[in-house]
């Protein structure tokens, strides 16, 4: 498979109070950022578990971004 034209599927775990609001603000102020990221909002980054991340890769994510 060539890496050209490869659109990675990235799963983002974003904390409701920090990173999620930042993502929201970025949207409101119309900053452009890649649309490869699918976001799951968690109430706190501390909620995230090893299992979640492995499961994400198992379900076909090419990367997992955790934002606190």
């Amino acid at each position: 498979m060539t890496t050209e034209g490869f659109n990675p599927r990235i799963l983002g775990f974003l904390c409701h109070w920090c990173c999620y609001s930042a993502a929201d603000a970025a949207g409101v102020s119309r900053y452009q950022y890649p649309s490869n990221i699918r976001v799951i909002r968690v109430m706190c980054t501390g909620r995230i578990d090893v299992r979640f991340i492995l499961e994400a890769f198992k379900c076909g994510a090419d990367g997992v971004f955790t934002g606190g």
Binding site: M1, Y31, P34, V50, K58, G63
Partner: protein, 171 residues
Amino acid sequence: MIISETCRQALKDIGVSPERMSLEWVSAAEAPRFVELITNYVSSIKSLGPLGSADGEGGGDLVQRHLRAGVKAASAVKVRTALGKLAKDMHKSGDYDPQIISAGVAKKVLPAFRQERLSQEIQLCLAEHGPCDMDSLCQETGGTREEADKILGTLSKKGLLKEEGAIWTLV
């Protein structure tokens, strides 16, 4: 921090590049920083290529089976108690230096994870391919002969596997 370090080491054990997982801190007021981080992260994943194709990753199907075993291993009681114990020890010592965390995870959590993963994977392997000998099991799971020998011993004691002329089958 312990969880993220465990993730990194577990991914390495599974054969996925640890760079695929990132942990960053962005405050609610830092939208430009978020945009910058996401952009950089997406381009770094693009350069790694799809899952299973980067350096040291053994192809999609193999990684997929490793991951399936990994998910089961990460839910295992042994691994979770090891994580809990490590967190308690760290809290007691009050020292959260990244190097100390990394050493602690490598010493206390990873051996339990690896053993559990290999054990799960041997069972998955036998279920998929049918009866196998030890060498092909080692090759498929990425474990050493000693590790495989020990795990096969425990599994057969539990009555899950049986051996007939060095060929292992699921019961």
